[in-house]
């Protein structure tokens, strides 16, 4: 709960960069910001395996790279599998005395496509086997890199190129966003958290906790995508804040099955404030808005109950 402190306290954060500038992400990309903060939180003692997706495309166009740490590019679906293999490999090498014991953090990272759709079974397997690794999902709620196609993390009513506006509905018609953090909690892993780069100190704290956890840890990061969400690039941080303030993306952590809300006495703002500025929700019918609000409130109350606040 260090969030309101970020005027001076942010100067005390690790000043070294491990995801360096010069990458090719869009203006205002909050995902690049999230990756940078995760890099700062973990330091140099880390091995990253990164699934195909925005962050792989923007950071590793041959012959350039933005990474100052060991980094693999894996296929779209197997970031978690490669990370778990790396962990097992290092464990074996340490046992045989070929490597010193250095407590290297093994980080798997992917976008929402590489986590909730294509990489799901690899991730589920890695978490279930109990590898000492962490996985970070940078969720921008669609396949932004290939041109904004819908994924299972796309929220209700959002317009993408594969869920275009029709005569009756403006976008995604039936399905609500897949609740990935909850699925990870059901794997009974020791640490699950949600974070957002609009709250940087909180994000850094959660990632560091995940890295310290013995066993698998999962962090779900909402990364606002100005290009795909149809918002001006300077509004990315603001939209991220609104997502938390309206309860669309609640921040919480689950340590050994115990829920803990990050903001305990948050008065939720109406969801409309979050939906209105975004071009992808333009023309959302009032009934859909109500449905959205209902689902958000239910989800939030559910979380409050689980964390014992209600």
């Amino acid at each position: 709960m260090m969030e309101p402190l970020n005027v001076y306290a942010s100067r005390l954060v690790n000043s070294k960069e491990f995801f360096v500038s010069g990458h090719k992400s869009c203006q205002g990309c909050a995902e690049a910001l999230a990756v940078r903060l995760v890099g700062k939180a973990l330091g140099e003692n880390v091995i990253v395996s990164c699934a195909t997706g925005c962050m792989e495309v923007v950071s590793s166009a041959f012959p350039h790279t933005s990474w100052d740490v060991p980094w693999f590019h894996t296929a779209f679906g197997n970031a978690a599998a490669v990370a778990s293999g790396t962990e097992a490999g290092i464990k074996a090498q340490v046992r045989k005395g070929r490597l010193p014991e250095k407590e290297t953090v093994i980080l798997g990272m992917a976008g929402d496509g590489g986590t909730t759709d294509i990489g799901f079974q690899a991730l589920s397997g890695a978490m279930e086997r109990g590898h000492n690794m962490m996985f970070v999902c940078y969720d921008n709620e669609a396949y932004m890199n290939t041109g904004i196609q819908r994924s299972s993390a796309t929220p209700l009513g959002a317009r993408t190129t594969t869920t275009p506006a029709g005569k009756i509905n403006p976008g995604e018609e039936f399905t609500i966003k897949k609740n990935m953090p909850e699925i990870m909690v059901s794997h009974n892993i020791p640490y699950v958290a949600t974070a957002c780069p609009s709250y940087p100190l909180d994000l850094i704290e959660k990632v560091q906790k995940a890295a310290k956890t013995k066993g698998p840890a999962y962090v779900h990061i909402l990364s606002v995508c100005p290009t795909g969400w149809r918002i001006p690039s300077e509004k990315a941080i603001w939209i991220g804040r609104l997502a938390i303030e309206t309860g669309v993306f609640p921040l919480f952590e689950v340590v050994n099955g115990r829920y803990k809300m990050t903001f305990k006495d948050l008065e939720l703002r109406p969801v409309e404030e979050y939906l209105k500025p975004q071009g992808r929700f333009r023309g959302l019918a009032p009934e859909m808005m109500e449905k959205f609000q209902e689902q958000v409130t239910d989800n939030y109350n559910d979380l409050l109950k689980k964390s014992g606040l209600k």
């Binding site: 260090m2 309101p4 402190l5 005027v7 001076y8 306290a9 100067r11 005390l12 690790n14 000043s15 070294k16 140099e44 003692n45 250095k102 407590e103 100190l201 310290k212 603001w238 804040r241 006495d265």
Partner: protein, 237 residues
Amino acid sequence: MSDKVNLTIDGRKLEAPAGSTILQAAKDANIYIPHLCHNDELKPYGACRLCVVEITHRNRTRIVASCIYEVAEGLEVQTVTERVLNVRKLVIELLLSRNKKSQVLQDIAQKLEVEKSRFELDIKGCILCGMCIRTCKEVVGVNAIGYKSRGFTREVATPFDETPPDCIACGSCAYVCPVDFIQYSEKNGVRTIWNTEFPMQKCTKCGRHIAPVKQLDHFKETLNLPEDHFDICLHCR
């Protein structure tokens, strides 16, 4: 100042810029040395003594604190020897006696295979690393807190243990405290730190709380801003 010196840490030959410390050189080479009172943004201080290492210089070995010892040509450093571990074990026992509950201290103790402290002390939990005081001075620049008394009774306090007149309630001291001893809370537009309640400025448009009024006054004063500059928050502008 681009001179480089050669040194070895744990048998690895390294090059480090002259004037940097052993701890920095080890960090750059990904060699772990435990430490509590070091932050790259603050001047080295050498309070916690957890970062001790054994150096060999001209055939003589001795124990130094790596966060304040400058690198030198031909320096040989061992970060894990029996002697070093003995010192670290004693240091962590002494620190644990000041604060038994801190998770950070317990984690380090576990790594050093120290189960519990032999010493019993009646101290509330501050380990006197001075991070908060140095942050207040060097990063924030207001000098609101300092040390009080000496020896056993030394503690971090506000002037005369009263409402701190210079404090702007930025909370950096609470953020930087390695053992989470400094109490900080925020509720209903009032931030409480150092037993003092600081009201927060409310945005006149959206009603969100921006920051403590005193902090915004400090900004206005130092940056020469108009009086109504912070009436509206960043997002409503």
